[in-house]
Subunit: 344 residues, 2 copies
DNA sequence: GCACAAAATGATAGCGTTAACATTTAACTT
DNA sequence: AAGTTAAATGTTAACGCTATCATTTTGTGC
C-alpha cells in the first residue's frame, strides 16, 4: 500500500520543529508539554501516521509492554473466553499478551513462571483460578516485584489486586430460584477443589437450602472437577440413587452440560423430569440442548479490569497494594433458560 | 529467586573470552563458528543462564519475532482450538502470537490488516478461513512482502504456502458411512459460503450419494453459516419436511450440535430416529449428548505446520513460493460416536 | 524591572542486540 | 616457504526510543 518508510520519532520531530523528546513526551502523556506544542505535535503525528516502534520503546524504557496470562483451568470454555477478551483488550492499549498454561506439578510450575518472567519480561501478570491461589507462585512474583492481578482468588485477599464476583451470593440466588420453582430434592456437583469459587458456590447452595429449611441427603453432594467428564460420572451416580434429585446445580457449565448428557443417556427428560442449572454462562451453555440456565459471570469485564489495572501501573509502588480501589467485585446475573423449570 | 541481574551478550562474551559477535553467531546458528568455540560458548551460555533480550534483537535485526493470526471464523470452537495450539507452538520457538479478528466489512478489513502489519510488524501471518481467501488481503500482504501461510484455502492455491486436509474426501467418506449404515434420506447443512471447505464438503457429500445411486430431494440441502444458530434453523426446516431425512450431515460440529438440539426440541430421538454427523472434531463434539460422530480435522498439526513454515523462513525469498514442499495436505480421520447409527 | 522558581524544551548517552565490514587465523597450492 | 583462499573472529556503527540532566523560556511577587 503505502510505500513510504515507517516514520520515526525523528521525522515527526523535524516536521514539527521540536526535539524528539518533546514528541516522546506528547506520546507518553507525562505532562510538561504546553498545550500549544502538544496540539502541533499531535497533528504531525497523525499526518505522518506515526506508529511507535515497540521494540525500541521496550529496549529504552526497560518496560516490556507484555502482559502474561497464567492459567490451569480445567474449563476450556472459561479459559478461551477469558483469553480472547484479554487479547483484544491488550491490543487496544498497545500491549501484547503472552499466554501460558502452568503445569500440574509444583516444581515445574515455578520453573515455568520464572521462565515466563525471564524470557518475556512481562510487565504484569493475570492469574486465573486456581493458579491465583498457589502461594508459591504468588511469592515468586512478589519477590521478583512483578505486579499481578488475580481473578476470583480464594485466599490471601490482601496480598494483591483482584477482580471477582460474588460467587456465594450467585450460588445462593440460583439455588433459591430452583427452590421457588418447587424443587426440594436438589443435588450439587462441587467444582474443582483447588478453585476457591467451588467452595463459595457450594456454601451458597447449602445456605440457600438451610434458609428455606430444606434438608438434603449427603448423597446429593458430588465432587466434580469442572470438566465435562467429571460432571458425567457425578451425574450418573446422582441419577442412579433411589431418591433421585429433581434438580442438579452444577458448579460450572461444562459439568451442567455433562449432567444433561447423563440424563439423556438414562432417558430422563430435561427439564421435565430433571432440572439442571450451571454456572459461568460460557458459550457452551447455549450450544447444548436444552440451553442451560446459569449464572452469567462477567468474564469480559473481569478481563477488562485486570488488563486496565496492570496497564495503569497504579500499583507499581508496593505501597499501593493495600488500596481498596484495586479490589473489584463485579455484578453477576441469573439467566433462566430451558434446562430448568418448575416442578409439576 | 535469582537476584543476579540478567546476563547479557557482553557478559557471556567476556566470560568465554570471545567477542559478542561470536556469541551472537552461536545463538543464531548461522555458521562460521568453529566447533571448539561453539561448545565453549554454549557452556557459558548455560552457565550464566543467558536469555536473549527479545526487544534488542528485534530492534537490531529488524525482525519482530511476532507472528500474526487472522481469523473471522464463525466457529468459536475451531478458532479457539487453533489459537491455543498456535500460542504454544510459537512460544516454543521464541515467537509471540498476535491475534486479530478481521472485520466483516472489506475496507475495515484492509485497515486492520495494515494496522496489524504496521504496529506489530509481524514476521509472518497465519490466515484462517475464510480470511485466507479474501483476495484483497492477500494482495496487501504480498505487496508488503509479508510471508503468510493459509489454512484450508479455497482458491489461488499457487499463491502462497498452505496447509489443509482433503475436505472433499472426508465428506465423501463420512457420507458413505451413513449410506453403508442404511441411510438413504440424508440431508446436508452447507457451511459458510465464504469458506472454501464448505463447497468441498458439499461436493463430497453429493458425489458419495451419486456413486451410490441415491437421489435426494432439493429440500434436503440447507445453507448454514457454521454457527450454532444457523444450524438450528436449518435443522428445524429439515425436520418439518413431510419426508423427513433419517440422517443429517452438518458441515461442522457447531451446526451438528444445533441439529441435535433441534431434534430434541421436536422430541425426535438421536440417533434412533435421526442420525447426525458433524465435521472438525472440536471439543464441542464430545461435550454434547449424544457425542457427535464427526471427521477429525488435524487442527493442532495444521497449526504446527503453519508456525514452522513461517519460522523456518523458507519462503522469505519469493522465488521459493512455488515450491511444492510448502503445500501440506494432512490426514483426517472418521470418528464414530453416539450421534449416528445404522437404520433399523 | 529584577531575582527566583517553575515549567517547558533540548542535548546526549545509552538500552542489548545484529549488520556490515575489517581483520586475523588456518588451510591449502605450487 | 611464500602466495592464495577460505574460514573464523573481531570492530564499529547503527536500530528507534527514553532517561537524565542541562538549558531555555515563562511566570510570579516585590
Amino acid at each position: 500500500m503505502n510505500k513510504d518508510k515507517k516514520s520515526r520519532l525523528q521525522d515527526v520531530a523535524k516536521h514539527a520543529g521540536v526535539s524528539m523528546m518533546t514528541v516522546s513526551r506528547v506520546l507518553n502523556q507525562n505532562g510538561m508539554v504546553s498545550e500549544k506544542t502538544k496540539t502541533k505535535v499531535q497533528a504531525k503525528l497523525k499526518e505522518l501516521n506515526y506508529q511507535p516502534n515497540v521494540s525500541a520503546r521496550r529496549l529504552a524504557s526497560n518496560k516490556s509492554f507484555f502482559l502474561g496470562l497464567l492459567y490451569d483451568n480445567p474449563s476450556a470454555s472459561y479459559v478461551s473466553q477469558f483469553l480472547l477478551s484479554s487479547l483484544k483488550l491488550c491490543r487496544d492499549c498497545g500491549y501484547h499478551l503472552v499466554v501460558d498454561e502452568v503445569d500440574k506439578s509444583l516444581t515445574k510450575n515455578l520453573e515455568s513462571v520464572a521462565e515466563l518472567i525471564n524470557i518475556t519480561q512481562v510487565d504484569g501478570l493475570i492469574l486465573l483460578p486456581p493458579v491465583c491461589d498457589i502461594a508459591e507462585i504468588l511469592e515468586t512474583l512478589m519477590a521478583a516485584n512483578i505486579p499481578f492481578v488475580r481473578v476470583s482468588p480464594n485466599a490471601q485477599l490482601n496480598v494483591s489486586p483482584y477482580v471477582c464476583m460474588d460467587d456465594y451470593q450467585a450460588a445462593f440466588e440460583i439455588t433459591e430460584q430452583l427452590i421457588q420453582q418447587g424443587h426440594v430434592n436438589i443435588a450439587h456437583i462441587i467444582g474443582h477443589p483447588d478453585v476457591g469459587a467451588s467452595r463459595l458456590r457450594y456454601q451458597g447452595f447449602l445456605d440457600a437450602l438451610r434458609s428455606n429449611k430444606i434438608n438434603i441427603p449427603p448423597e446429593y453432594i458430588e465432587q466434580g472437577f469442572f470438566t465435562y467428564k467429571s460432571g458425567l460420572s457425578a451425574t450418573q451416580k446422582l441419577l442412579s440413587l433411589n431418591n433421585r434429585p429433581s434438580a442438579i446445580f452444577a458448579s460450572n457449565d461444562d459439568m451442567a452440560a455433562a449432567a444433561i448428557s447423563a440424563a439423556h443417556m438414562k432417558n430422563i427428560p430435561v427439564p421435565t423430569a430433571l432440572s439442571v442449572v450451571g454456572f459461568d454462562d460460557t458459550l457452551l451453555a447455549s450450544t447444548v440442548w436444552p440451553h442451560i440456565s446459569t449464572v452469567r459471570q462477567p468474564i469480559k469485564e473481569m478481563a477488562k479490569v485486570a488488563v486496565e489495572l496492570l496497564v495503569s501501573g497504579k500499583f507499581d509502588d508496593p505501597a499501593n497494594l493495600k488500596r481498596s480501589d484495586l479490589r473489584h467485585v463485579l455484578d453477576f446475573e441469573i439467566i433462566q433458560r430451558e434446562s430448568s423449570t418448575g416442578i409439576s
